[in-house]
Structure formats: C-alpha cells, structure tokens
C-alpha cells in the first residue's frame, strides 16, 4: 500500500500522516510507503516504512504527472487555498482549487491505475435559499468562490469515479475545532480560539453571543473519518461519491460548558464577549443544521460530545 498526501504539509495533512504511521495499514494492507507533497517540502517524519517529502505545486500539470508517476494505491487530495484567500484572490482560488484538482484528476485518468482518491470538500458548498436540515441531496448553492470550487471538485470526483478513472470519495468537512496554533484572519478563527487560548491560560475574545450555533468536528475524528472514507468499499458508495462528514451542532455556551466540565471553571473566565458586527454578519449566514445520513450509514462518526474535542486538544495539541 503506497499512499500520497497532496497538501501533506498542512494542518490535516500532518495529522493524517502521523495517524497513518501509527496505524501501519490501510484497507487491510500494510503501508509500504507514504509520500507527503506540498508547495514547500514538509519536514520528514519518523516511520517504520519509506517516507518521502516533496515540494510540488498542483497548479503545475507536469509536476503532477511527475509526482504521480510512481503510482499510488491511495491519494488524499487536501491541497487547497482556504475560503478567505479564494474570496480575496479569485485567480488563486480558481488555479489551485479548480485547475489544481483537475490536474490531479487528469493525471490520474491518463495513468489508468484508478487509485482510491479521498478529496476534502467543505460545508461551505451550502448556502442561499435551501431548506433546513441540509441533507445529502440538498443542492450545493455556495455563496463563496471557495465553496464553488469545492462543489465543482465534488462533481468532478463523482464523474471521474463513475467512469472508472479514479475510485473517489469526497468528504465535506465541518468546521474543525479545537484547531491548534494561533488565531488567524478567518472569520471562523474564534470557533477554536475561545477554547484553545483559555486552555493555554490566555485570554480570548468571542465576537458572537453565547447562543450562536455552528457545526463542529474535532481534528482527531476528522482524520479518523478521512481514513474510514478511504476504506469504504466502492460498491457501498452508490450513485454519489460525496457525503457530509458528521459533526455536532453546538452553541458557544455548550462549548464553554464542555470546557468547564473537562478543565474546571478557570478557563471560561478568560473569555470576553465583545460583539463584532463584521464577523457576526459573515458567520450568521453560515448553515448549522445538517443531516449526514450517508456518512453515518457508512461508519463515519461525530464526536460523542464537545468534551471529547476539549480532551483531544489537551492530549494531542496543547503546547507543553
């Protein structure tokens, strides 16, 4: 089993690589090699099998042909420019999120090996005038260029799979929380930082009110679901390779209560509520009511409660 992670230097790519190393197998076969590719070569990891870390740009078709030439049994396609970037720089988003994905698919099509391909889409594909709850058969009606590009990727992965060019699976990721690291300029940044910073003994600002609901998943279960996505039998996927990855709808208040249940009353005291109308306007347009029936039926899972998300952060990511 030879595995490639494109976008292997990113947040989820790194976690996925470590988890695959710990597991040692995928789809019932021992892992013989793992290649991590990203725009800059990811730092090497220790593993009991071959690890290669390589720099390569998915917008460069020839580079993709070279990267894929050895032939892989499973490819995780995580490389993307994120939502705010794709909205601010239209051409970057189109080049990476649309043409980059097409480069990978075309390269795989012409190679004719039809590997398992796990593509990460986003709940950002949903929006506009569609009824709640959002089901597996709700139209992607994205209100961002990022969501549009991801929705196009979903369609391409479906068609390339239907034709037998790849054996694709597309997972629409919920917002990941608790995400490690520092706050960034994404509108969703507070959805991790209001938990992460207090657990690290630092102050955090919450720009929305405590009843604001949103749909979350921990990084640990996200990686687990990416692996399960790779392991689903093609025959069980039916007439669409796309599914919403399960998450939980939670209010800010519920998230804070879970933090308090796990870590005691002190962290919550470090959160300051300070309305930010600009952020509130963006995130109040986001959907939070999902029915991920297909993924649940195929064995993917949400966190049992947000207490798990808090525990996973403490176990996996809190700086020591």
């Amino acid at each position: 089993m030879n595995i490639l992670i494109i976008g292997g230097g990113g947040f989820l790519g790194q976690k996925l690589a470590r988890r695959l190393i710990a597991r040692g197998e995928l789809r019932g076969r021992q892992i013989a090699g793992l290649t991590l590719a990203d725009i800059a070569a990811p730092a090497p990891l220790d593993a009991p099998f071959d690890i290669a870390c390589t720099a390569c740009d998915i917008t460069d078709r020839a580079a993709m042909d070279a990267l894929l030439a050895p032939g892989f049994d499973a490819v995780f396609l995580l490389a993307a420019v994120v939502s705010s970037h794709a909205e601010a720089e239209f051409e970057d988003g189109m080049n990476v999120n649309l043409h980059g994905v097409l480069n990978v698919l075309e390269s795989l099509r012409l190679q004719g090996r039809a590997p398992v391909l796990v593509f990460t889409s986003s709940l950002a594909v949903f929006g506009g005038e569609v009824p709640d709850p959002i089901r597996d058969w709700t139209i992607p009606n994205p209100q961002t260029s990022y969501g549009t590009q991801k929705a196009i990727g979903e369609l391409l992965v479906n068609d390339y799979s239907r034709r037998g060019f790849v054996d694709g699976r597309t997972l629409r990721l919920p917002t990941i929380s608790v995400r490690p690291g520092r706050p960034n300029r994404a509108a969703s940044s507070f959805m991790s930082s209001i938990i992460r910073e207090p657990l690290n003994g630092e102050e955090a600002v919450c720009p929305v009110d405590p009843e604001f609901p949103h749909y979350y998943l921990s990084p640990r279960l996200c990686v687990e679901n990416l692996i399960r996505g790779a392991e689903i039998e093609a025959a069980d996927l039916g007439q669409s390779r796309t599914m919403t990855m399960p998450g939980r709808t939670l209010t800010i208040r519920q998230m804070i209560e879970a933090m308090t249940a796990v870590a005691g009353p002190e962290p919550a005291k470090l959160i300051r509520f300070e309305d930010d109308p600009a952020i509130r306007d963006i995130v109040s347009g986001w959907r939070f009511d999902y029915d991920p029936a297909k993924a649940l039926a195929l064995g993917l899972e949400a966190d049992a409660s947000f207490e798990e998300n808090v525990r996973y952060y403490l176990e996996d990511d809190r700086p020591t």
Copy 2:
C-alpha cells in the same frame, strides 16, 4: 442592445435568432446588432438590424477574446457537445462543455462589462439517489459526463454573477419535443420522432411502452423562456442564478392522444411499438417529476398542453 448567440448555428440558436429578429427588442431596448457564432459560420439571416455570422471555437480562448471584444449587452451561451457525444468522447465534452464555458466566462470577467449571460443547462444534471419531485434545491447528481459538465457550468455562472463579472442566468432545459429534422442516435430521439414522422406521413417506431413518462417542452416555449430568462431583473434572482425551465410530464399515450386531437386519427396508425431494451434501460433511469417553482414565479412557462407542441410543430417546422 447588441446580442451574441454562441452556438447560434444550432437548433435552438437558430430559432432564438429568428425570434429576436421578429421581436426587435430585448430588455426594453431596441436590438442594434445580433452576432451568431458557431464552429462553422451560420448562414446569414434577414433582419432590420446588423447581423453578423462568424465561425469560432469556444475551446480557443484567444478566439473567444476576439469574438467578445466588440462588447455585447446580452450573450446566449448555447454551444455544447450533446450528451451521447460527451459520454463517448470524454475529452471533447470536457473541452467544449467545461473549458469552453470557462473560456467565455474568463474572457467576460477580464473585459469587465458584466453583460447579461444566459446559459443553457439540462435536466441531465439530475440523477441517482435523490427524492421526487426534483426541486430547485435538489442536488445535481449527474450520471453522465454531459450532466456533470453542465452542473459545473451552473456553479461557475452563479459565482461569476455573485462576484459581478457577468449577470448570469442558467436555465435547465427539459427534453425538447417536437424537435424538427431527422431521427438521430440520441436515446431521446424517439420522443420527437413518434410525433414528427407520423405528422409527416411517415412510419415511426416507439421503443418504450405507452405509459413511459417524461418531461417535455416545445421549442417555441423554450425560446420564449430563454428570452424571459434574459429579461429577469437581477435582483429577482436571489441567491442562485439557476432554475429548472418549466415543462410538462407526459406519457407516450398522452402525447399520441394530443396528436390525434390536433391532426385526426391517421398519424397515430403510423406508430409501431417495438420494445428496445437498450433504449428502455437508458431512458428508464431518467427523472420525470420536477417542481420548477422558481422559474414559474419568475414568469417562465410550460406549454398549456401537448396539443400546443403538436400545433407549434405544424406551424413552425413541418416541411412543406
């Protein structure tokens, strides 16, 4: 008002051109010029304003820039390779139906004039595990490469419109019947020929049983709806530029009864029912239960009854 029809040499492009010439105006403004572009230059038409007929390939980005350079107020993007072609020749379909559409959109984006753009999608975007009736918020889950490419075009037109690069409207066309001309190799060919040939005094074979249901629209109302689509105010389109063009669900029996009501009992005697399992297998996977609520609310229309479709064929298209 300067208008461009890309695919202007095709079946609907030609009918649309004639209808625009007869109308003389669009969006309340007199038509000053009409350009018909197609892979081979369409034959010139008589008109009380400037008509240009030009050969040009939408897969050629430089040719698109040159075609669009004069600047148009409204562009109808009809050029496409059809379903069976896109399924048999994957690269042709991708080149014309995906990259060709992207060429037009990119050329318009960089021009910065944001014309009205009417894009023709198809009910072939629907399929697979989605519940009936198919609504405006049902996921496009195409089971053909043609449907996939059209669904991608819908997403692109939405995003280019949201960003103000074009003022787009996408109409998903039902199966057009009665289509003039000769039978072709499309699986849907019989849906016109069982009416057209008998009205012309010729025999026709129906490969499915009389209770087979499907969703139809006449060419005349299709063209009318394309024009209404161009005339909708952008503000009335809401958060999606895509809608299902209204049609009627009819069985073969109802179509034949309508023909008899209009043209007497003789034509129906020319239809021979002869099961064709290959065709039946394809068309029985097609959906026929649609709720085109958005388009109806915006003033688009279906034929009042299939008797209209029969009359329009006799008035507009029967060879004399």
